[in-house]
């Protein structure tokens, strides 16, 4: 279970991110193995989303290195990093608002589809064949997550929880090696959260990928993650299994700062 030992899938070394005078992430070391399910927690503004943003290329770390599957990826443009096998969801849902549920997932197949401009115009048999294959794969994914019946519905008319799940499906459609989930439970009701716990385990097993989960819902994180990193003011204050984290005095202190221990903040 431990990512230590051989080479990690994702390896952050002494990563620092500064926005002007503010240090959002400071000297962060983090390793994730190819089959890990890792949690990243911390109070509001701790720097969790910023970690996602440097891993996916939205920002370049001010200093430090990021290695993914043995390649340095810090500073690559986001679409290049997506091609290397990192997919993500967003804290504030970012679906393609004008597209249907089907097309949101289909769009993610741009990563792998062979046809381009010219093929779309010539519309030869090979083009139709590939489109049929993509169509089938999209439907398979949607059906796995019970979204198939919404196929032609505008994505914006889905419920909040379904939109979050659609975002996960869209990320999985790129066939990542590592999936980053940024507060997937935010705005979900208790029943949906229950389902999410199962869903995350299911994704890890079914697709055999690594998952990094940012989440404020402690019950969810503790229940699903094998290992947890705790950030506070951009600095890693603890790392370990859920058991150890709940008992760590530094963690308790960091969370006491804002709300009762084991706070369930809905950001």
């Amino acid at each position: 279970m431990e990512a230590n030992g051989q080479s990690a899938l994702l390896d952050l070394q002494r990563c620092t991110v500064r926005f002007g005078g503010l240090t959002a992430v400071s000297e962060l070391d983090m390793r994730i193995g190819a089959h890990d399910l890792v949690g990243l927690i911390g109070p509001n503004g701790a720097g969790k989303t910023t970690v996602f943003n440097i891993v996916t290329g939205v920002y370049k770390p001010t200093t430090g290195s990021i290695t993914f599957a043995g390649e340095r990826i810090a500073g690559l443009r986001p679409h290049r990093i997506a091609h290397k096998g990192i997919a993500r969801t967003f804290q504030n849902i970012r679906l393609f608002a004008s597209l249907s549920v089907f097309d949101n997932v289909r769009a993610a197949f741009n990563l792998r589809c062979k046809h381009t401009f010219v093929h779309a115009l010539l519309r030869l048999p090979a083009f139709y064949k590939e489109e049929r294959e993509i169509d089938a794969q999209v439907m398979e994914l949607l059906d796995i997550f019970d979204l198939g019946r919404f196929r032609d519905v505008p994505c914006k008319s889905l419920s909040y929880g379904d939109q979050r799940r659609l975002e996960i499906v869209r990320a999985l459609a790129t066939r990542p090696k590592l999936l980053l989930l940024d507060e997937p439970a935010a705005g979900m009701n208790p029943i949906e959260k229950e389902g999410l716990t199962k869903l995350i385990r299911f994704i890890k097993d079914k697709f055999d990928i690594a998952v990094l989960l940012v989440e404020h819902d402690m019950k969810l994180v503790m229940g699903v993650c094998e290992r947890i990193y705790v950030l506070d003011h951009g600095t890693k204050i603890a790392e370990g299994d859920p058991e150890a984290i709940t008992r760590n005095p530094k963690v308790i202190e960091a969370y006491l700062g804002e709300e009762p221990a084991e706070a369930e903040t809905d950001a």
Partner: protein, 339 residues
């Protein structure tokens, strides 16, 4: 579904054949009406191609008339001054004319596309509204450059361009433009353009090179603007730089907004509507029994376009045809009941 998709090529073929048939009867149409019909086709090409940039890909180009000007001047110069040899070698008949005409149209389109590449690459790498500013400046620069180019007679205009444009060419190329944009968008690759419009950050995270997509849309749109310029030059046989000014760019933008951004059928229809309205207002401006102020408004297109836009924003912000499924206005299906 497959048969339905395949029929796109049939539609194109049907439209081309229809243009050819109609063109046979064009001799019996009054010259003025014929020209208006051809202007309609040219404006369809302009609006549908701008819609690829401004509508589907969500960028904001204000320089479509500039690319049209490049296509018009390059093709006109080539066919008037540089094609005698080719015409002669091919025997100078109808076939020779077709070869030369198609050749100069493509050359005009390619020149406009090249300009689009030079303008697009630096400005589309930046996020935000740089494109609007850059294309606005570009349109004006092109005009000034043409005004000072002696080979095409500068500001006094270039005349004596061969009259090659026919109803057939205008409508066949309009159909081709529509076919290309519709086929492109109706593919997994083409959906990528819409993701750039909807959310660039998410599109990048899904592995789509957003800069490249924007450039592809922009260069493709510019090519068709150049093609439209070529048709225009060989219809009027006289072009001058003032005809491709900012007002012409705005006119095309208004067509796109009126038809509904990212709605090809709507935009093509808006091109028909606005071209016809523009011609009709020419007559209105001459009605002596109308009050003077009204005639002046009718004569001033800038005011007309502004009025059209204001009315649209108040009454139908999604465009005349936005949201109507028959016009390709996006999914209108209802949410199925939860099982």
């Amino acid at each position: 579904m497959n048969a339905y998709l395949r029929s796109k090529k049939l539609w194109l073929l049907a439209a081309v054949v229809l243009s050819a048939v109609l063109s046979r009867f064009s001799g019996s149409i009054n010259g003025y009406y014929l020209q208006v019909l051809i202007f309609i086709a040219i404006n369809i090409i302009l609006a549908v191609s701008l819609n690829l940039i401004n509508g589907y890909t969500g960028q904001f180009s204000l320089g479509h008339a500039g690319f049209m000007a490049i296509g018009a001047y390059v093709s006109a110069y080539l066919s008037k001054d540089k094609s005698a040899g080719v015409l002669h070698a091919l025997g100078g008949g109808e076939f020779a004319i077709v070869v030369v005409f198609v050749g100069v149209l493509i050359a005009g389109g390619l020149a406009a596309a090249l300009a689009g590449l030079l303008v697009g690459v630096p400005s589309l790498r930046l996020r935000g509204d740089y494109l609007a500013i850059v294309t606005l400046g570009f349109g004006e620069i092109i005009r000034v450059v043409i005004q000072n180019t002696d080979a095409v007679n500068g500001a006094s205009g270039y005349s004596g361009v061969p009259s090659y444009t026919t109803l057939f060419w205008a409508y066949a190329l309009a159909a081709l433009t529509i076919y290309i944009v519709v086929s492109l968008i109706d593919s997994t690759y083409g959906r990528g353009f819409l993701t750039v419009r909807d959310d660039e950050v998410a599109a990048e995270a899904m592995g789509i090179d957003t800069t490249r997509r924007k450039v592809v849309a922009f260069v493709t749109g510019s090519f068709f603007a150049g093609l439209a310029g070529g048709l225009f030059a060989h219809e009027t046989t006289y072009i001058n730089p003032a005809g491709f000014d900012f007002q012409k760019s705005i006119e095309i933008v208004v067509m796109v907004i009126l038809g509904g951004m990212g709605n090809t059928a709507g935009v093509a229809f808006a091109a028909v509507l606005l071209t016809t309205l523009g011609e009709y207002l020419r007559f209105v401006a001459k009605y002596e029994w109308l009050p003077d102020w009204l005639r002046r408004i009718a004569d001033n297109r800038t005011i007309i376009y502004a009025l059209v836009l204001i009315a649209l924003m108040l009454l139908r912000p999604q465009g005349l045809f936005g949201g109507i499924r028959a016009f390709g206005g996006g999914p209108a299906r209802q949410l199925p009941k939860k099982a």
